[in-house]
């Protein structure tokens, strides 16, 4: 049931389409043009309670065209990258550019910034996996989790595997292609006791299937995480230290990146407007990106403007050293692009790391947060208030699970109040970090 997919052929086809779109746009009157095209395909299976539940085969494609007529811009896209569709898309983009207003900042990134180095970043590892094999792996994962004493039922285990090609071209003559793959296995379990039902999950994900964790280990740890939550109570209301587990600490990095992104800054929608070169974190903390890291989740030699990516340092010994800029947002701010159109790639922290035990001991009394709920983060003011679940810590040790409480503060004071980072680094996403201990937040519970 696997579908034929030859990434090299697909890339060649997308490149042809992109170049045709550029040529057509120029012929129809565009002064400049850029085209993104992609095709992705994958398989997803889910099993529940020992039997297969869904098998999904996906194949998505798309083409997006942006044209510039003078300083006016128009964009159009389609989920159909056929030749006929390309013509429609180009014509529509040009039609729109007749009605948009002049924007002095509009246009492609400068030609001399276009990427010229395209090293193999080792991010494309297709998995020739049959449906039966995919089901078997998911079943192995789920059954290991269900086998743990105390697990009542399963919400299922899922395996997904996919690969794709993305091409970006513009009228500077730039043409870049990227192939990539991603494979994931997850398990979600339910446990129940007199206090009610709880669920939790675990997952593994990687570009290379050989780097995935053992399916049974994922199921077992999902079971352990679920069982740990049984009997949760509400913590007392008060001000106390909060330890964010690694998967949530990476969210705090995400809020930081959102606040130093050019789009938020030029719209004055960030609590970090005009804070360049000021101290945001303790001086032992640095944060940078490694877009060319071999085999990493977000590696790419060029950004969404075609600009060569580079190792940026955003936080240098506590100081905000660089914003996160695309060609457009840089022009709006009177600065230069940082090669971050489309975001930051492979963020890495430089700081002294310590064990979770050590962080708990330093915390003494507070909450270890392992789950956050809701969207209560205001990027304009930095105000932070979110639902949470986790564990109560007293005398430097985990005492019991807690739930139905909020943690609140302000991101700026939270960043200043960062007192330690764990060595328990979560390497699954594009942001790698360990736990973060924040000196004080308001916990609202019972």
């Amino acid at each position: 049931m696997t579908q034929a997919f030859d990434a090299a052929d697909q890339q060649a086809l997308l490149e042809t389409r992109a170049e045709a779109a550029l040529a057509l746009a120029r012929r129809l009157g565009a002064d400049a043009c850029e085209v993104g095209a992609s095709v992705d395909q994958g398989i997803g299976v889910s099993v529940r309670e020992g039997d297969v539940e869904t098998v999904e085969l996906s194949r998505d494609q798309g083409i997006a065209v942006t044209v510039y007529v003078g300083q006016r811009k128009g964009s159009a896209s389609s989920s159909d990258a056929s030749e006929a569709s390309v013509r429609d898309v180009v014509e529509k983009a040009l039609a729109i550019a007749r009605y948009t207003g002049e924007d002095p900042a509009a246009g492609l990134a400068d030609a001399e910034l276009m990427a010229t180095r395209f090293p193999d970043l080792d991010v494309h590892h297709p998995w020739p996996l049959s449906t039966e094999e995919a089901i078997e792996l998911a079943l192995t994962c789920e059954s290991a989790g269900r086998g743990v004493e105390g697990i009542r039922s399963s919400e299922g285990a899922s395996l997904s595997s996919g690969e794709g090609v993305h091409v970006y071209a513009n009228s500077h003559g730039f043409l870049g292609g990227q192939r990539g793959s991603r494979h994931s296995l997850s398990c979600l379990l339910i446990a129940e006791d007199a206090s009610g039902m709880q669920r939790d999950y675990d997952y593994t994900t990687s570009r290379d299937p050989r780097a995935l964790r053992d399916p049974a280990a994922v199921g077992e740890s999902a079971a352990r995480r679920t069982l740990q939550r049984l009997g949760a109570v509400r913590p007392a209301t008060g001000r106390m230290p909060v330890l964010f587990d690694p998967s949530l600490a990476s969210g705090l990095v995400g809020h930081l990146m959102g606040a130093i992104a050019g789009g938020a800054l030029y719209r004055q929608s960030s609590f970090l407007c005009e804070r360049l070169n000021t101290m945001l974190f303790p001086d032992w903390f640095s944060l940078g990106e490694r877009p060319m890291e071999v085999g990493a989740m977000a590696s790419s030699p060029f950004d969404a403007d075609g600009v060569q990516t580079r190792d940026n340092v955003f936080i240098d010994q506590g100081r905000l050293a660089s914003y996160l800029l695309s060609a457009y947002s840089a022009r709006r701010l009177g600065m230069s692009t940082t090669g971050n159109a489309g975001g930051a790639r492979n963020l890495r922290i430089t700081a002294p790391l310590e064990s979770q035990e050590s962080l708990l001991a330093r915390m003494d009394r507070g909450v270890l947060v392992t789950e956050l709920m809701g969207q209560g983060v205001n990027g304009v003011t930095g105000d932070y208030s979110r639902g949470a679940a986790g564990f109560w810590v007293e005398n430097g040790r985990i005492q019991h699970p807690v739930e139905e409480f909020t943690i609140a503060g302000n991101l700026e004071t939270m960043f200043q109040g960062l007192v330690g980072i764990g060595d328990d680094i979560d390497t699954r996403g594009s942001i790698h970090t360990g736990s973060w201990l924040i000196d004080e937040m308001t916990v609202a519970g019972a």
Binding site: R59, M373, G374, G376, T381, S385, F405, A408
Partner: protein
């Protein structure tokens, strides 16, 4: 078949099938591919959508975009198993390939033939039109510029104004092996304004928006550019004065309308059929039991005229309906799609929805709201000695298994001695669904629906929804402020 359905069917055939050389008869053949050995139900979902978006910044419409999506999704089911494949080509070859792929979920068993096709006759809940064409490009630009001017004129503290106008024209055709054949043409438009105000170095945001299933020209006729611009500025100025919110348990009064997101999170998701069939919802097995205070009646209603969450037929071709979920505090209904209804021995309720042809349908909400009660909103506020009055929210989330839900206030006030006093900063409210509904102690007579801004996410799929409620008092809820 009414004449409207007949003409919609012609249109759908013209738009969806004809370009790939297909006609309605070809759907029988397509279904035949999906009805492999052992398959007990199969359906084909054809969709084409046109999306247009215009956005304004710095007083100029600097960007606009247009996108065209479409294809066919083919689903084959055997018991609890579902096979699914899709293609963005609508051709005989694509139907054969996706049909065979989907039906590969099982390999043996009886081969069924599709039931005789019956066109679903459903009452139209909105006009089957293309909403994008009713307004010229110049008019669209003019509306956005008007919002900018009105917002900037409203107060000198306004530093930034962004406004957007979006519209979707969607044509769907469903053909299922149980004989269902249904067609729907769904318009959806929305206008949004967001402002940044700065005063004495303090910066705040305010936003307002709305829309529904009607032509874009109605947004202009309803003067939304001016109304939403003024509302966004008003909210931002309130937030400039906001003090830190309190932390801890206290009475909470929720305003009418959009705060109905409480119902969406606290009870709505927990009453979707899939979670209850699997027993993973905190409401599972509680049909007929008391799950909320007396006086609490909650419905999910797809039939409201022109509302954002309304559907004439759902994405499986079942007519949209109004389902009573909780009646006078007693759990009376779940929201169902065909799969979960069949497995639970219940009837589908017209709640099967999918983000697109490339996604599987699931039981989803449409417009979910609480019926009005008897109380005067002023009396509700007056009954609270110290608490919070929250009138606008940013969004929410629920863990349907533990029942814990959150929703985050974006405009709220302190209530002190029965009076609304200072505005407070946004704070997340957290509670347990069944418990919170049991703490509803007063229900206003002022039922309102939201302005048409909701998007609900479930398993990665977003669909437009509506919510509503009258002013409500919950005797106790945890408020996640910073002042403990």
């Amino acid at each position: 078949m009414t004449s409207q359905t007949s003409s919609m069917l012609d249109q759908a055939g013209e738009i969806l099938l004809a370009p790939g050389g297909l006609d309605l008869d070809a759907l029988e053949v397509g279904l035949g591919h999906a009805l492999g050995p052992g398959i007990d139900y199969a359906d084909l979902y054809f969709q084409r959508s046109w999306h247009e978006g215009w956005s304004l910044e710095d007083g100029e419409v600097k960007d606009a975009s247009y996108s065209i999506d479409g294809g066919v999704g083919v689903r084959a089911m055997a018991g609890e198993k579902t096979g699914f494949a899709y293609s963005n080509q609508i051709t005989a070859d694509a139907l054969a390939e996706t049909g065979r792929t989907a039906s590969g979920i099982v390999r043996s068993g009886k081969r069924l033939t599709a039931a005789t096709c019956i066109q679903v006759g459903a009452e139209a809940r909105y006009a089957g039109i293309d909403p994008l064409t009713g307004l010229s490009a110049e008019d669209k630009v003019a509306m956005l510029k008007l919002a900018d001017r009105v917002a900037r004129a409203a107060d000198p503290a306004v530093e930034q104004v962004s406004a957007s106008l979006t519209g979707v024209h969607e044509v769907v055709l469903v053909r299922a092996s149980d004989g269902t054949q249904a067609v729907d043409i769904r318009p959806l438009v929305r206008f949004n304004v967001s402002v940044i105000v700065v005063r004495n170095g303090r910066r705040e945001r305010g936003s307002a928006g709305g829309g529904g299933r009607y032509p874009m020209s109605r947004l202009r006729d309803d003067n939304v550019a001016e109304r939403f611009a003024k509302e966004a500025v008003r909210q931002a100025l309130v937030n400039l004065e906001a003090v830190d919110a309190p932390a801890g348990q206290m009475p909470v009064v929720l305003g009418a309308g959009w705060p109905g997101i409480l119902l969406h999170e606290a009870v709505g998701h927990g009453l979707e059929g899939d979670f209850n069939r699997k027993g993973s919802s905190a409401f599972a097995g509680r049909m007929g039991e008391r799950v909320a205070s007396p006086g609490v009646t909650v419905v999910d209603d797809a039939t409201l005229a022109d509302r954002r969450g309304s559907m004439s037929v759902d994405d499986e071709g079942t007519p949209g309906q109004c389902t009573t979920l909780i009646e006078d505090g007693i759990l009376t209904g779940y929201m169902q799609d065909k799969l979960n209804a069949r497995l639970m021995g219940m009837a589908p309720t017209g709640n099967a929805r999918r983000e697109s042809f490339a996604h599987l349908p699931m039981p989803r909400m449409t417009n979910t709201y609480m019926q009005a009660g008897q109380d005067d909103p002023a009396d509700i506020i007056g009954s609270v000695d110290r608490g919070i009055y929250a009138v606008s929210f940013g969004g929410g989330q629920v863990d349907i298994t533990s029942g814990k839900f959150v929703f985050s206030a974006s405009e709220a006030y302190l209530i002190e001695g029965g009076r609304i006093t200072a505005p407070v900063k946004g704070a997340t409210l957290i509670g347990n669904g069944p418990e919170a509904m049991g703490r509803v102690s007063m229900i206003g007579h002022d039922l309102e629906l939201d302005t048409g801004i909701g998007v609900c996410g479930k398993e990665g799929q977003g669909v437009p929804v509506g919510v509503g409620q009258p002013t409500l008092k919950l005797d106790e809820l945890t408020v996640g402020g910073t002042q403990s």
